[in-house]
């Protein structure tokens, strides 16, 4: 890895082909929520193989993610995806389920594993266990603060990957309630979850993706990038699993420029950038839990308005 890594998530080959990845260093392939998400890489091994090759051909690192909450019936497919990832020389796999972590440790002992946000990394003791099972990087549970992340990395000695922009995962389900609307809506599974669907109560809003719930607001750490770099963080994620190629490219360009400037000692961000950020958010911005506060709050110099979703 260079001075930093900017990565993102892409669920299927169509979305990969439509995306300009020039501002990224790495891509996670696959949708972690739903096995029947439109042409999910994790269910289509030929697509996954091609996806890995396409990403690597662009000089980027190719990572393969895995399901957030797999039951036994999904494990054979998980194993096929791992086998494909190994055969196609993927650079790492992402694991949210500790059973899958153990499986990789047993069957692919040399495979680098990134621990995902649903693996519930809250403590140094827990992270130390995961390191022994082969983890080389972890996404902390979204609820913990930057101070806690720093304590874990210092104690355990593996780096954290931080979500710096995009909708933060808030939960995963076995059940897709969007299927209840199939008979009433023109959109059907497996594309209905890609519509702009929000759950709203007063000022609160969350994004529904069927089997998952995401923050309505976009996490935005743009003005805090110098702080993250100073703390030694290098791996940054822009979460775009349910976003458009335009969002994926536009936000990444903003962050790459800001990271490069911050590394050069200039922590400022052009005002025009904030206008672009606003255009890419339906509800507004937040910082997640990085500052020990309510996940939907925004701490910083920006007072972005809440939009209407």
């Amino acid at each position: 890895m260079g001075a930093f890594e900017l990565n993102t998530t892409i669920s299927n080959l169509r979305s990969l082909q439509e995306s300009d990845l020039s501002a990224y260093d790495a891509v996670y392939l696959g949708n972690i929520y739903c096995r029947i998400f439109e042409d999910n890489f994790l269910e289509r091994m030929n697509d996954l193989k091609e996806g890995i090759a396409r990403v690597k051909d662009q000089g980027l690192r190719a990572y393969v993610t895995s399901y957030a909450g797999p039951r036994n019936d999904a494990l054979p497919k998980v194993e096929m995806a791992l086998e494909t990832a190994a055969a196609a020389a993927a650079d790492a796999v992402e694991v949210h389920n500790l059973g899958v972590l153990r499986l990789i440790h047993e069957q692919y002992p040399g495979m680098p594993v990134h621990i995902g946000g649903f693996a519930n990394v809250y403590t140094d003791a827990g992270t130390a266990v995961l390191k022994e099972f082969g983890a080389v990087r972890f996404t902390p549970n979204y609820e913990i603060s930057l101070d806690e992340v720093r304590a874990i990395t210092a104690a355990v000695g593996i780096p954290a990957e931080l979500l710096v922009h995009g909708k933060m995962p808030l939960g995963v389900s076995d059940y897709c309630f969007l299927l209840e609307y199939e008979s009433h809506w023109p959109e059907k599974c497996p594309v209905v979850c890609q519509k702009q669907l929000f759950l709203r109560q007063g000022d609160w809003a969350m994004r529904s993706v069927g089997k998952g719930v995401l923050s309505g607001k976009d996490v935005c750490m743009l003005e805090h990038l110098p702080t993250l770099l100073a703390a030694g963080h290098k791996a940054f994620r822009i979460e775009t699993a349910y976003e458009t190629p335009e969002y994926r490219l536009g936000i990444a360009r903003i962050y790459r420029t800001a990271l490069e400037r911050a590394l050069a000692g200039d922590g400022t961000v052009d005002e025009s950038v904030w206008q672009m950020i606003r255009e890419h958010t339906a509800v507004g911005l937040c910082n997640g839990f990085y500052f020990g506060r309510t996940g939907g709050e925004y701490i910083g110099s920006r007072a972005e308005t809440t939009a209407a979703c």
Binding site: L75, L103, T123, V129, A151, R200
Partner: protein, 327 residues
């Protein structure tokens, strides 16, 4: 045999069907029936109704808040009661403790083990391993909050030294068979529980919306804010409140998140046949009366299975007041 239960339902074990389906033989070894107890009265009622063990919380150290927790003296009395009856007490220490809290909690567990506590329920892989190393005689259960769902999860917690792993009540008996075929760890199934929309242990919707509510609710030693960690008052059940669903900016529905009260007593035999080692009932917040009624129902079904009889649950549904959802 008929076990009368308050409310609408009754459980009937049919000897006739037993002769047809299994034949009459010696009683089979049955799974442990593990009851919730939020207070001493509930523990006593659960034991009387046939629970083999109860799980309790210790003030400040269990997920879900002060409601349904015992203080140290009450816990000591609970352990004494269980021992007098030849039964067990398990401690739900299912918060996720920070480093300093870990050492304090370990100290408490060591003392409680000396009192006769048999098992502890934990929620973090790191803490689990630390308890195993420091307190080797204590049985350890990987809490339902650990999110175990599959055979490899069971093997993971087995590797760490857990005695048992809890699976949610929405798994099927066939999945238990698959786990038991590969794993030696005890499999505990929470057959009576509320299945929320989000998987247990994988929800931080409340803290996204209001982290501070949990922090300010009750001064306590435990971590605040996070449901997952055990924050006081931090789950304010947003999934049970009405939400407006908007599609492309247009309101299309007003709805709750889906949720179900599971009570799979009618399928208990299938889970026991599958090899479940422990049948767990959710609900430390339930009243002693309701705990007694639910445990009596599961005890009757369990005894019927043990004697090779077919239990037939003839109530359409549990009254809401019996359920954890009705808490």
């Amino acid at each position: 045999m008929e076990a009368a239960t308050p409310g609408n339902g009754s459980l009937v074990a049919s000897g006739h069907s037993a002769v047809r389906s299994r034949g009459i033989g010696p009683p089979k070894k049955c799974a442990m029936l593990l009851a919730p107890a939020g207070n001493l009265e509930a523990a006593g009622q659960a034991f009387e109704a046939g629970a083999d063990a109860v799980y309790v919380g210790l003030k400040g150290w269990s997920r879900g808040g002060a409601r349904g927790e015992l203080d140290r003296e009450q816990l000591r009395q609970c352990i004494e009661l269980a021992h007098a009856l030849g039964k067990q007490v398990q401690l739900a220490a299912n918060i996720i403790p920070k480093a300093l809290e870990r050492q304090r909690l370990l100290g408490q567990l060591a003392e409680l083990a000396e009192w006769g506590l048999q098992a502890v329920i934990v929620n973090d892989a790191g803490f689990l391993r630390e308890v195993r190393r420091k307190l080797p005689a204590l049985a350890i259960t990987a809490s339902i909050g650990c999110g175990a769902l599959n055979t490899d999860d069971a093997l993971f917690y087995q590797d760490l030294g857990a005695t048992a792993v809890v699976l949610p009540g929405y798994v099927e008996p066939a999945e238990i068979v698959e786990v038991k075929a590969k794993a030696a760890i005890q499999v505990e199934v929470m057959l009576h529980m509320v299945q929320e929309f989000i998987q247990l242990g994988k929800c931080w919707m409340p803290s996204y919306l209001n982290f501070a509510a949990g922090e300010q609710a009750i001064p306590a030693e435990r971590l605040g804010g996070s449901v997952k960690r055990g924050g006081v008052g931090s789950c304010f059940r947003i999934c049970q409140q009405p939400w407006m669903l908007l599609k492309d900016g247009v309101e299309v529905d007003q709805r709750l998140f889906p949720g179900w009260q599971l009570s799979r007593v009618a399928e208990l035999g299938a889970f026991l046949d599958a090899g479940a080692d422990v049948i767990k009932i959710q609900g430390r917040s339930l009243s002693a009366e309701i705990v007694r009624a639910i445990i009596a129902m599961y005890r009757a079904a369990s005894d019927a299975w043990r004697c090779g009889q077919k239990a037939e649950w003839n109530a359409a549904a549990l009254p809401v007041m019996w359920t954890v959802r009705g808490r």
